[in-house]
C-alpha cells in the first residue's frame, strides 16, 4: 500500500447537481476518494450512481447544466473545482488522460486516425510533423495496432470497435499524462475484446507508471485491475477498501447485493440475486441511508439517519448502521459467503 504522502489526486466531499425541468438532480452527494501514485482505484456502482459525473468534474467536462455545489478536487496544489478553462487546458491530456465508454462515437468520423493522434502533438507540444508521426506510430504499436504505418492513414470506420478503443487509448497517452481515467472503457465492446483491452491498460500502467481511475459497473472487471475499490450508490461512496477486502469481506448490504448479482462459473443452479427495487429519485434524495428502501437488512435507523463510515480495518470502511456495536450481529447472506469461500479457494 502506498504511502500517505504520495497522494496524487484527492476528491473531498464533492457535491454536484444538474439543473433539470423537474428541479435539481443531486447526482453526486459527498464523494471522497484518494488516488496514490502508481495505483489503480476502481469506482463501482450501477448506472446513475454518480461515478461518471465525479470523473467528469476532475476533467472539467461537465455539461453546461451541471453545478458544483461544494467540495474540492485537489491536484498538484490546485482545487480543480475552482480553476478556469485555461488551467484545465494545461491539464487535460498533458497531465490527466481520459478513455471513453464508447470508442465508436469518440473518434471524429471524417478525420484520419493518424491526424487525430498527432493533432495535439503538433498543436500543443509544437512537434514537427515527422516527429509527431513517428511518435504516433510508436504509440499505435504500443497499444497493439498491427501495421501502424498503414493504419495511420485510415479513417475510424475502417477500424473495429476494439481497435478504435486502442486508438482512443493511444490518443489519451499521446501527451504522456500521469493520471489515466478510464470511464467504462470496455462496456461497449465484445466480451472477448474486453479482456484484451483490460490487459492492455494494465500493461501500459506498469510501463508508464500511471495512476489509474477505473470506472465500471462490473465488479468482475475490477477484480484483476484495481488495488483499491470504492463502491458508490446514489451519489455517495458506501464502502471502500483494498480489492481483497471488498471482495472477501464486504460489509455493506449494497456490496453484498452487487456481489450476489455477479454471475460466475459456479452459478449453475443457484438463482442470481437481482437487486430488488429501483434507485431513488435523485431530485428528492431519501433521508437516512439511500439504499434502505431496497435493503433486506434495513433497520428503523436507516430510514432516519444517515450512517457514518465505520472502520473495519485501516484501509476498509463502510457506511452502514449494521457495523454499529449496538446493531444486531448480521452475517452476510449464506449464498454469498459460499461464493466467497469458493473464490478464495480458487485464488
Amino acid at each position: 500500500m502506498a504511502e500517505k504522502n504520495d497522494i496524487i489526486l484527492e476528491v473531498k466531499d464533492l457535491h454536484v447537481s444538474f439543473k433539470s425541468y423537474a428541479g435539481y438532480v443531486r447526482a453526486v452527494r459527498g464523494v471522497n476518494f484518494t488516488l496514490h501514485k502508481g495505483e489503480t482505484i476502481a469506482i463501482v456502482g450501477e448506472s446513475g450512481s454518480g461515478k461518471s459525473v465525479s470523473v467528469k468534474t476532475i476533467m472539467g467536462i461537465l455539461s453546461k447544466n451541471a453545478v458544483i455545489d461544494s467540495g474540492e478536487v485537489l491536484y498538484d496544489g490546485m482545487d480543480l473545482t475552482k480553476v478556469d478553462e485555461k488551467v484545465f487546458h494545461t491539464l487535460r491530456g498533458k497531465r490527466i488522460g481520459l478513455i471513453f465508454q464508447d470508442p465508436l462515437s469518440a473518434l471524429n468520423p471524417i478525420m484520419k486516425i493518424g491526424k487525430q493522434i498527432t493533432e495535439v502533438l503538433i498543436l500543443e507540444q509544437k512537434m514537427n510533423k515527422e516527429d509527431a508521426k513517428k511518435k504516433a506510430i510508436e504509440l499505435m504499436r504500443a497499444v497493439g495496432i498491427p501495421q501502424p504505418e498503414v493504419r495511420f492513414d485510415q479513417y475510424p470506420f475502417q477500424f473495429s470497435g476494439g481497435m478504435r478503443q486502442r486508438i482512443v487509448i493511444a490518443i489519451a497517452l499521446a501527451s504522456d499524462p500521469e493520471i489515466l481515467i478510464c470511464d467504462e472503457p470496455t462496456t461497449a465492446l465484445d466480451v472477448t475484446v474486453q479482456s484484451r483491452i483490460l490487459e492492455l491498460i494494465n500493461k501500459i500502467k506498469e510501463e508508464r507508471n500511471l495512476s489509474v481511475i477505473f470506472i465500471t459497473h462490473d465488479l468482475g472487471v475490477v477484480a484483476n485491475m484495481a488495488d483499491r475499490v470504492y463502491v458508490m450508490y446514489a451519489g455517495k461512496v458506501v464502502e471502500f477498501g483494498e480489492s481483497e477486502e471488498i471482495f472477501f469481506e464486504p460489509a455493506h448490504p449494497y456490496t453484498w447485493a452487487l456481489l450476489s448479482s455477479m454471475p460466475d462459473l459456479e452459478t449453475k443452479d443457484e438463482k442470481l440475486m437481482a437487486i430488488p427495487g429501483t434507485p431513488p429519485n435523485m431530485v428528492y434524495p431519501p433521508k437516512g441511508d439511500a439504499f434502505a428502501a431496497r435493503n433486506q437488512y434495513a433497520m428503523q435507523i436507516d430510514f432516519e439517519e444517515e450512517p457514518p463510515f465505520f472502520k473495519i480495518s485501516d484501509t476498509h470502511y463502510a457506511a452502514t448502521w449494521l457495523l454499529h456495536p449496538d446493531a444486531p450481529e448480521t452475517p452476510m447472506p449464506e449464498q454469498l459467503s459460499q461464493r466467497i469461500k469458493r473464490m478464495k479457494e480458487e485464488g
Binding site: 487546458h89 487535460r92 469518440a106 471524429n108 468520423p109 471524417i110 498543436l123 489519451a172 499521446a174
Partner: protein
C-alpha cells in the same frame, strides 16, 4: 469510383431524355399553332409549318427535333419572343446577367449564413440565438417575391435609394445600385437556410463524444470547435449549398420579373404566355438539365468529401 460516376451520368441522360420527350409531346400537343397570325395568309402559315415539320406526325416531328438537338446543336427557333433567333442563342444571351446577380447574392448570403449559424449554435438558448431564430423563421417563411415588392416599394420608390428596376445599360456604381435590390431579395432565403442548417449540425457535433475527446486530449475550446465541430458540420452543409450554386443558372423566375431583369427566368414566363413553343421547349430542357446536374454534383461531391462513402465505393 469512376464506374460509379459513369453510371450516374448515364442515368442522368436517360432521365433527361424522358423529360425532354414528355416536354416535347406536351408542348406540341397544345392547341393552337405557333404561327396563328391573322395577318398572314393561310398559304404562308402552311409553308412555315411545313418548314418546321409541323404537318407531320408527332413521332416524326420528334425525330427531327432530336436530330437537331443532338447532331446540330439546334434547339429550335424562337417564333415570337425574338423571331427567327435560335432558341439556344436566346437562352445563352440571357445567362450572364442571371449568373451575375445570383452569384453576388450567394457571395453575400453564404458568409452571413455561416456567421449567423455559428453564433446561434455557440450561444445556444441565449439572446443572440433567439434573435437569429426569429430572423430565420421570417426569412424562410416570407416568399422572396414579397421581400422583393417590399424592397422595391420602400427602398427604391419611397426612399429613392436605388433604381426601381434593373438598368441593363447602366455602368459602374449605377449598375451595382440597380442590381442591389434583386440581390438582396434573393439573399434572404439562402441566409436563413444556411443559418438554420448549420446551427442544427453544429449543436449536434458540439455535443458529440469526439468533441469531448478533442477537449480531453488537450485541445482548447477554439481548436476543438474549429478543427472538429466546424469541419464536421460543413460536410452536410454542402447538401444545401451546392444546389444553391447550380440554381443560380436557373435564376429566379419571379425576382427577374419584378425587377424587369432580362435573364433566363423571365424568358420562361414570356415564352409560355406568348405561345412560343420552340422556345418553351428549349427553356424546359435547360431547366431540367440544370436541376439534374445539381443532383448529380451533390451526389458525387458527397462521395468525394465524405471518406466513408469515398472509400467504400471503391
Amino acid at each position: 469510383m469512376t464506374r460509379y460516376i459513369i453510371e450516374r451520368i448515364i442515368a442522368m441522360f436517360i432521365t433527361l431524355f424522358i423529360i425532354v420527350t414528355i416536354a416535347f409531346c406536351v408542348v406540341r400537343m397544345m392547341p393552337g399553332s405557333v404561327y396563328d397570325n391573322p395577318e398572314l395568309p393561310q398559304s404562308v402559315i402552311d409553308a412555315l409549318e411545313a418548314k418546321a415539320h409541323l404537318n407531320e406526325p408527332l413521332l416524326v416531328q420528334y425525330g427531327y427535333f432530336l436530330k437537331g438537338v443532338i447532331l446540330e446543336g439546334d434547339w429550335g427557333t424562337s417564333v415570337k419572343i425574338e423571331p427567327s433567333v435560335p432558341a439556344f442563342d436566346v437562352l445563352v444571351k440571357r445567362i450572364p446577367v442571371t449568373l451575375e446577380i445570383n452569384i453576388y447574392s450567394l457571395l453575400i448570403s453564404l458568409p452571413l449564413g455561416i456567421i449567423f449559424g455559428t453564433i446561434a449554435a455557440l450561444r445556444k438558448n441565449k439572446l443572440a440565438d433567439h434573435l437569429i431564430s426569429v430572423m430565420v423563421v421570417i426569412c424562410i417563411s416570407v416568399p422572396s417575391f414579397v421581400f422583393a415588392s417590399l424592397l422595391q416599394y420602400v427602398l427604391a420608390f419611397k426612399l429613392e435609394l436605388f433604381p426601381i428596376v434593373y438598368e441593363s445599360t447602366a455602368v459602374g456604381v449605377q449598375r451595382f445600385a440597380s442590381m442591389a435590390l434583386p440581390i438582396m431579395a434573393l439573399a434572404f432565403g439562402p441566409i436563413a437556410t444556411v443559418t438554420r442548417y448549420l446551427r442544427g449540425e453544429l449543436v449536434e457535433t458540439v455535443n458529440s463524444e469526439f468533441m469531448t475527446l478533442a477537449k480531453t486530449k488537450g485541445l482548447n475550446q477554439v481548436q476543438a470547435t474549429v478543427r472538429h465541430a466546424f469541419r464536421n458540420s460543413c460536410l452536410p452543409l454542402t447538401n444545401v449549398i451546392i444546389p444553391m450554386f447550380t440554381n443560380v443558372l436557373g435564376g429566379s423566375l419571379v425576382i427577374e420579373r419584378i425587377f424587369s431583369i432580362p435573364g433566363v427566368g423571365g424568358i420562361m414566363i414570356n415564352s409560355i404566355n406568348a405561345n412560343d413553343h420552340p422556345l418553351t421547349i428549349a427553356v424546359l430542357i435547360f431547366y431540367s438539365l440544370v436541376s439534374l446536374l445539381t443532383i448529380l454534383i451533390v451526389d458525387l461531391s458527397y462521395g468525394i468529401i465524405d471518406p466513408r462513402i469515398r472509400l467504400e465505393a471503391k
